[in-house]
Symmetry: C2
Subunit: 134 residues, 2 copies
DNA sequence: ATCGTTGCAAATGGTTTGCAGTTTA
DNA sequence: TAAACTGCAAACCATTTGCAACGAT
């Protein structure tokens, strides 16, 4: 059984109750921005402010526990799934959906590496499908 | 010979000197955010402010003359190339490079449409390769 | 002449920072 | 106990808005 406390400590961070709660919240939400986490934890931690949430989320990103994603509504989203994967982005609800399709990723990665883009060192490939959920 | 004035009028907008200058600037810059345009036009139009630049760029987007792109440095970028194409994004200089490769686009589009993502109506596919220019 | 546009300043909203007090390891 | 963390308020910065003066058609 996975202990979130140990996950956080293993990343070199102190496992405060707030951090544990924020990580649990992210697990539940999947993709979320700071205010969604504040909202989600308001009852349990009424003193938690956006400032702290941002600090914690950022430290999680640095520790490799989360990944940042840019959304079209001017907010920074965080993703609990840190492995490379594609996304659908619902432009109506500003909501991400994971596409766990290694084949798609491989298709693009292979194509890119076969082409060898001039004067550019590839670090990551981001496939972002915009549309509407129905 | 293409007249920028006519391009703007053709889009249903008044061809003011500022708009012509802003569009010319975008042509030169390729991908730019508001403050880059202000900077580029400071000498010729010292009274041009970011507010106007934003208004003009936004009206160009609505008119289909430009397209928005989200960058990793919290700024909105605008792209003069309105057709669908992939991008490299230099994470060091926050700079976009076009990848004009219809084959890559087709590869992904075909794959996506063959898979038929559940409960999702695809509107656009955005391929964003992050890395460093060398 | 009319309606859209510019310019300026002030407002907005997401994100960051400074710092005092608190907690984890 | 030391170093890291939280909470609060204030700062920051990209973007937007309101409105009076102005200019393109």
């Amino acid at each position: 059984m996975l202990m979130i406390k140990d996950l956080i400590k293993g990343a070199g961070l102190k496992a405060t109750p707030q951090r544990i709660a924020i990580y649990e919240s992210m697990r539940k939400l999947g993709h979320a921005c700071a205010d969604m986490v504040v909202e989600d934890l308001r009852e349990k931690y009424p003193t938690l402010t956006v400032a702290t949430i941002y600090n914690v989320l950022e430290s999680f990103v640095e520790a490799g526990l989360l990944v940042k994603r840019f959304s079209l509504n001017h907010k920074m989203y965080f993703d609990v799934n840190t492995y490379e994967h594609a996304h659908c982005y619902d432009t109506v609800h500003n909501h991400f959906i994971d596409i766990d399709d290694p084949e798609l990723l491989k298709l693009v990665t292979d194509y890119i590496s076969s082409k060898e883009i001039e004067h550019f060192e590839v670090e990551g490939i981001d496939i972002h499908i915009t549309g509407k959920q129905k």
